[in-house]
Subunit: 211 residues, 2 copies
DNA sequence: ACTTGTCTGTTGCAATTGCAACACTTTTAT
DNA sequence: ATAAAAGTGTTGCAATTGCAACAGACAAGT
């Protein structure tokens, strides 16, 4: 199956680790909160998998606006390979908390025609698919025209993932506004409107949908 | 190499077609301009590759606003698998021009341990990576805060791909505004401002960067 | 050639959002 | 324990954008 649960994803990573071909050089590195995991500069063709923790891919524009381009959690795939130098960007990968990252060099897995190579490749394809799914959700979120629509879309996404109309937002509001790419105060204002108009109930980051 | 040129990508697809394992069921379908390629409903785990032509993944929201979620060109990968049903979306894939689409069922390529299977898997991973790259560019574009920044980012992207400060926009302005997810008239207005302020010269869709 | 439809270009006005600034609470580090 | 830092919540105001509406250019089809 291409679409898989968290559990299946975890098993996939475990399988991948146990079956890593010997000719594929890997490193497992540990990072503390705030550490720069790796800068998007030279080292091309490096693929990283988050084993534990959370890391953010962030960008600062000329005006100092911060955007969380993507947030990677346990078992997510990322790497320079996915961010070709198309413009003069400043991208940073920063550990949001204590994290453990598996790094491997893509070029190593070139068609050695052994079974474990094949499994690795297959797993990487699945991970890349899952990544694409996350990216599509983000794109869908960003293409909502108003903050209200962004919030409602995001809430219904969380509701489906938590199987219910009550859930806790897994971001701080500051980070959420970076992820939505909107002003934080404007986001808070819209949350207030949604509460006042009876669409949601809110206690801190706990939301209950009333519709 | 993970990052590859158009030519390399074309060769990859060619290779993939000649080496398709026999147990993988494929179909090559032809579509005319305006045809609905496939609706994002039931058929999961189908992977599509554009052989010729252009197809758009579009969404209409409640207010009738159209958004081009993604545009797929020759050798691009798409499919229901990348769009899990997370919300009540209405996604359509529409042929923008006469197109030829290769469709294969993902479940067929499950670990048959033969060489061509491995190559197919490897190629699919590469395609998925290229897809992720495109998605990242789109995300970067969408996270620009103003229409001006979106235009300048997009222009510099085109300039790099065309190796020069002169290029032709490969969208109609109507489609470009759908892709940027902004109002068309607002986009035209901003183009005018950029021209008036001497950032660009424009004749129809031909742009020259003056900075 | 003519009609139909789509695309381009422009403008006034209203609505949403970003910005700046502030007070207050919570978390983190020493 | 206490200081410093980060996050939350709120508001007025300005700026950007969306919307509506229109006219002319261009393209496609009969």
């Amino acid at each position: 199956m291409l679409v898989m649960s968290m559990k299946e994803k975890r098993e996939l990573i475990h399988h991948l680790r146990t079956l890593l071909p010997k000719h594929v050089r890997i490193q497992i590195k540990h990072y503390q909160k705030g550490d720069n995991v790796t800068t998007y500069l030279a080292k091309r063709n490096q693929i990283c998998i988050v084993l534990t923790g959370v890391v953010d891919l962030v960008r600062y524009d000329r005006n100092g606006n911060k955007t969380i381009v993507e947030r990677y959690r346990e078992n997510d795939l990322f790497g320079e390979a996915f961010h070709p130098v198309v413009t003069n960007n400043e991208l940073f990968v920063v550990a949001k908390e204590k994290s453990e990252i598996l790094q491997l060099v893509y070029d190593d897995l070139h068609l050695k025609e052994d079974k474990s190579d094949m499994i690795l490749c297959h797993h990487l394809f699945q991970l890349a698919t899952l990544k694409a799914i996350d990216q599509n959700i983000r794109i869908e979120l960003l293409t909502k025209t108003t903050i209200r629509e962004k919030l409602l879309f995001y809430f219904s996404y969380l509701a489906i993932n938590n199987y219910g109309k009550e859930f806790t937002i897994p971001f701080s509001f500051t980070d959420l506004s970076d992820y939505f790419n909107v002003d934080r105060s404007a986001l808070m204002r819209e949350l207030k409107h949604l509460t006042d108009e009876g669409f949601i109930e809110r206690k801190g980051k706990n939301i209950t949908l009333l519709y």
